[in-house]
Amino acid sequence: MTVDTAEAGPDILCAGLVRIFTAQGVEVQALQGLELRVERGEMVALVGASGSGKSTLLTILAGLDTPTAGSARVAGHDLVAMRAPERLEYQRSSVGFVWQQSGRNLLPYLSAAENVGMAHAVAGVVPRARRRAVTDELLELLTVGDVADRRPDQLSGGQRQRVAIAVGLANDPRVLLADEPTGELDEATSADVLAAMETVNRERGVTTLIVTHDPAVAEHVDRTVRIRDGRTSTETLRTTHVDEAGRSVRVAVEYAVLDKAGRMQFPAEFTQALGLRERVRLSLEPDRVEVRPGDAVVPPPEAGRGRHRAASDDGERS
């Protein structure tokens, strides 16, 4: 097994991840060289429009699908090289999941406590004697201890998702993956559930990756990774600091992501504003790189000051 016991590296590390689906001779590139790094204990949101490849990434991280190319390591497991027995071991003890629909999280005919018990029974990681205590502890942590004996259809949407988080954590995983955990909830309940995830992240040190298209989620995490067309496009870092007047201010700064091959994506509003299409001109300045429309007839006066390069939009993509 390739479990990284040194625990030095990040908990989630994807590099050049590619996933191609072939449908009747037509290839669909769901992931096109995605880069993602989540440090141990971090809580990161992954946002993107519908069809941007979020769910494909999560399915790969959950060990339910394998990438076409690239590398993916989660909690020390190499998801590409992993064989069936290790995959089971990985699913049993290294990751937990929370999906959007409670139907995929919880069995409808089992109570909340039994659902946690089922995760125990399937994985067999937690010793039998401890299971009851673990169940109680988790449900209390997620403030659903009082409804432990109710079945999912007797719970509110928020309670259901909190129970789902408890089930995801049943086997004490290092990483918790959540796919649109608030997709079916109203704003207040969403905040509630996200707060619960924050608690878990903080108190248990569980590395958490939330995939969502809900911008509200971003408020609860320090780092938001945006993916576009199967590639990491920007990252937003949020920091909280106290301003001069003593008020706590949350500041968000958005960064573009440069991959190992030196590629990056421009936000759509940038390219539209300057009419950047196909060919653009790049010039290296001492402290920055300038990008200008490539169809400028007259060489700019500053041309001599830096190195010039013409870049093609198509060439970059291929």
Binding site: Q24, L88, Q91, R92, G103, L106, P108, Y109, S111, D149
Partner: protein
């Protein structure tokens, strides 16, 4: 926390398995019913076969079916250890009866089981008894004196007294009241009987008796004891015949003239003890018993005793019955494969429904790290729980009710029980398997190649099997598995054909101009073409069901028609009269009966000695009038072909020979009674002319060259005028033919054949198979539609959001199954029509229809009705399923799209 929270892995699996009790119950019911029918049918078939065998045995006279030996002489007197005889007989007969009893202890158990208590009687040869006073008007009487050690238990003297052994004076005997009356014999009257060697025996009637039980089949061994017989010799006075009982202890009188005594011994055949399951062994044991003579001490005038050979027609009857039994077994197995195959398809559909319910749990369990083995194991355990309990319950109930035994009883229950054990994990893992994306194709080029190869292999196997069966190149003892599986193979080929044809036709429909047809005309074929999810099940059900139904119907018609033509062939005319003797006057009056158009007597029939260069034979010679017989049998397809050569004069005597004899003769020259004969034609061995199988028919004009007596008619064939009532004419003809005459019409012979329990049992099974496949077909179609409900509901919800009126929804449902069913129906009909032509020649059906010719295939009047019947069942199933599908609300469906995707 409550106890529920502590549910372990097993508890959770059980909880999961019991969440859809209706589906589980449904699968349970299908398994149980299949197992029940599968377990009960062998018992029913075995019972029917046994009844058929007993029916055939009951139809033969006891004197023929019992194992009888007769020998000239008397048994050696002596008492046995425990012969179980009446006191007065023990001293003389005990030893012989003991000997018979001892012998039966050494019999094969199969034989001993069906043989009753042995019997022995000695008869003084029948002879005329003369009144002491000549011409006193007493009727002429021929008396057979019988010594029967057990007669006192069978008769009760109502007048006079029982005969006693006498030292001197007339021999005492008793008669039944009707016989004494017919002979005009008063109690105490003495008559004399001349015996060989100039001995004149005087006999006296001491009393008249009545039988204790007139229906006792034992009386069949004394045909004229209860009622007198009559012998008529032309113009002479008729002679009354009868059996009188002398005192059994008086055997010494008879022993004094052993050359005039015949001792008859028999083991009665207990027909109710015969069982079809062991009939083969029984027939073999019987043959062995007949072949090895028993040694019993007999006082005989013969120097050398050959022992007693007990013979019976029972082994022959049983052997003939066995061919019927084997055909029936093969046929039932063949027909049962149809409903069984469809039942398994339905069961697979039911398990698929369960599997779909388990899908979310399975996916969840997989995501949480449950191994494939664990998930398959849990599903298999669930399948086993359903299959084993239902299979056992249905199987045991069917076994108890059907009363069958042997491994065959457990075969279908085991199959039914195993199906969910295999199908549930297989379909469960399949439906839970994540397709990478919804738009990814379900089949790869490799899978398509594999499918094509499998289909080609199936067609090749079916073709080979058909050729092997049709060519008759194989000879298999008992039930030929190839014949049994052939219908299923042909139906499977039909399925392949249909499944290939349907997408092609749908594509054609789809390509046709969609604008003209509106929304449904566009969506219907497009969906049917592109979502072929579960077409296999209804197609298989329709093809197999219709094929088996058409086959069953055609088969029933073939057998029914076969019986009619065999009966016609057996009677040979509109009416056949068999009498002991018919004089010229009687023939004349028969010809003059109203309604009779023509008569053709068999003028004489005589067993004759025939010689071939290689062997000696016994041949029956029938004397006919070629012109008369031709007229009577005119237009009859089973008429005996009578070539003109029969009328040739001079040279070898021209005859028509039975096929059996002609085969025996071959190229050799047949000589009958010293005269060479020329076989100018052959006919079916079983003939209306008489009961012989090796026979020749000769025209009257040449008869005197082969026979000395050319006029002793006992059989007459009558041709009726159009419109005459055969029953009425037959009755009149019978009355006109003297006592003991029997009239047969094709209808009466047909009725007798139809009484055979094997036939009614077979018809019941054929009907049952048709009903079963129809019901299963409805189930399969309905379940297919229910299984397709999820995807259909999604689309209907979308369409109703776009404004499709709800009343148009059933049309969408119809489009799902109709194309497959419409194509499958004619394919099934074709397979069903081909089957009888392939299968009937491979089965021996002569046992069912009588006669010795295999019946020709007839489709019958009912066969064309099968198709609309099945169509109606299918339409009904579709309508019910479409109606059920309407209850779903759009909102719920749209919400569930994501979860199910």
């Amino acid at each position: 926390m409550s106890a529920r929270a502590r549910a372990g892995a097993v508890g959770i699996a059980v909880r999961s398995a019991t969440t859809s009790p209706l589906l589980t119950l449904f699968a349970f019911t299908v398994v149980a019913v299949t197992a029940f029918i599968g377990a009960a049918t062998p018992g029913f078939v075995q019972r029917t076969q046994t009844e058929s065998l007993r029916f055939a045995l009951e139809r033969t006279a006891p004197a023929q079916r019992d194992f009888v030996a007769s020998v000239r002489g008397t048994p050696e007197p002596g008492a046995g250890r425990d012969p179980g005889l009446p006191a007065e007989s023990v001293a003389v007969w005990g030893g012989s009866v003991q000997g018979l009893l001892d012998a039966s202890r050494g019999f094969d158990p199969a034989l001993a089981e069906v043989l009753g208590r042995p019997r022995i009687v000695s008869d003084l040869d029948p002879a005329e008894a003369y009144s002491l006073v000549k011409n006193d008007g007493t009727p002429r009487s021929q008396l057979t004196l019988r010594y029967d050690p057990e007669y006192s238990t069978r008769v009760r003297f109502v007048e006079g007294r029982a005969p006693q052994p006498v030292q001197e004076g007339p021999l005492e005997f008793g008669l039944s009241t009707p016989v004494a009356q017919a002979m005009g014999w008063e109690i105490g009257a003495v008559r004399t009987i001349p015996r060989p060697g100039g001995i004149v025996q005087s006999v006296v009637l001491t009393g008249v008796w009545e039988p204790v039980d007139a229906s006792d089949r034992d009386w069949d061994h004394a045909p004229t004891a209860l009622a007198p017989g009559l012998i008529e010799h032309g113009l002479e006075l008729p002679v009354h015949t009868g059996v009188g009982y002398a005192a059994p202890a008086d055997l010494g009188t008879a022993a004094a003239m052993p050359q005039s005594v015949v001792t008859t011994l028999w083991y009665p055949l207990e027909v109710p003890a015969v069982d079809a399951r062991h009939a083969g062994e029984l027939a073999a044991a019987m043959r062995l018993f007949s072949a090895v003579p028993l040694d019993l001490p007999i006082v005989s005038s013969a120097i050398y005793s050959r022992g007693l050979a007990f013979t019976s027609t029972a082994p022959l009857t049983i052997t003939q019955g066995l061919t019927r039994i084997e055909s029936m077994t093969a046929l039932v197995a063949l027909i049962a494969t149809g409903p069984l195959a469809v039942a398994i398809v339905v069961l697979a559909l039911a398990t698929r429904m369960i599997a779909l319910r388990r899908r979310p749990s399975l996916r969840l369990a997989e995501a949480r790290g449950a191994s494939t083995r664990l998930r398959a194991g849990v599903l298999a355990a669930e399948g086993l729980a359903i299959g084993a309990t239902a299979g056992a319950a249905g199987g045991v109930a069917g076994m108890l009710l059907g009363g069958g035994d042997g491994p065959v009883v457990a075969l279908v229950p085991a199959l039914a029980a195993l199906t969910p054990v295999i199908a549930l994990p297989a379909t469960g893992l399949l439906v839970a398997k994540r397709r990478a994306r919804a738009d990814a194709p379900a089949t790869s080029p490799a899978a398509r190649r594999l499918r094509l190869l499998a289909e080609l292999a199936l067609v090749a196997v079916a073709a080979t099997a058909t050729v092997l069966v049709v060519s008759g190149a194989r000879s298999v003892e008992g039930v030929d598995p190839l014949v049994v599986t052939l219908p299923l193979l042909l139906a499977a080929v039909g399925c392949v054909l249909t499944l290939r044809l349907v997408p092609f036709l749908l594509a054609l429909v789809e390509r046709g101009s969609p604008r003209r047809r509106g929304l449904l005309g566009l969506i219907g074929p497009a969906r049917a073409h592109r979502e072929p999810a579960l077409r296999v099940a209804p197609v298989l059900a329709v093809v197999v069901g219709v094929a088996i139904a058409v086959f069953s119907s055609a088969f029933a018609a073939t057998v029914g028609d076969g019986i009619v033509s065999a009966a016609r062939g057996e009677v040979g005319a509109d009416v056949r009269i068999s009498a002991r003797y018919l004089n010229a006057d009687q023939l004349e009056s028969l010809a003059r009966l109203s309604g009779v158009a023509a008569v053709a007597p068999v003028y004489a029939d005589e067993q004759s000695r025939a010689e071939l260069p290689s062997a000696d034979l016994t041949v029956m010679v029938y004397v006919i009038d070629v012109a008369e017989l031709r007229r009577v049998q005119e237009g009859d397809p089973s008429a005996i072909a009578l070539p003109d050569a029969l009328l040739e004069t001079g040279g070898a005597v021209p005859v028509v020979a039975s096929q059996q004899l002609a085969d025996r003769v071959g190229d050799e020259t047949l000589v009958i009674e010293g005269r060479p004969v020329d076989i100018v034609g052959t006919a079916v061995s079983q003939t209306p002319l008489g009961s012989a199988r090796t026979w020749v028919a000769v025209d009257r004009s040449r008869a005197d060259e082969l026979l000395s007596t050319t006029f002793s008619p006992s059989t007459v064939l009558l041709d009726l005028e159009p419109g005459a009532d055969p029953v009425a004419v037959a009755e009149q003809a019978r009355l006109a033919s003297g006592t003991g005459a029997v009239a047969a019409t094709p209808a009466s012979v047909e009725r007798e054949h139809r009484e055979d329990p094997a036939l009614s049992g077979l018809q019941l099974i054929l009907l049952g198979a048709i009903v079963a496949v129809a019901a299963l077909l409805a189930l399969a179609v309905g379940m297919t539609l229910v299984l397709g409900a999820a995807s259909r509901d999604r689309m209907l919800a979308l369409l109703s959001a776009l404004g499709l009126p709800r009343r148009r929804e059933p049309a969408i449902v119809v489009w799902e199954v109709a194309p497959a069913v419409i194509v499958a129906l004619p394919v099934g009909v074709l397979a069903g029509l081909a089957l009888p032509f392939v299968v009937v020649p491979a089965l021996d059906l002569t046992g069912f229809v009588g006669g010795e010719l295999q019946p020709a295939v007839h489709l019958g009047a009912w066969t064309p009705l099968v198709v609309p019947g099945f169509l109606a069942v299918t339409i009904l199933a579709v309508l019910v399923a479409a109606f059920v599908a309407r209850r779903v609300t759009a909102a719920r469906t749209l919400r569930s799209i994501d979860e199910e995707g």
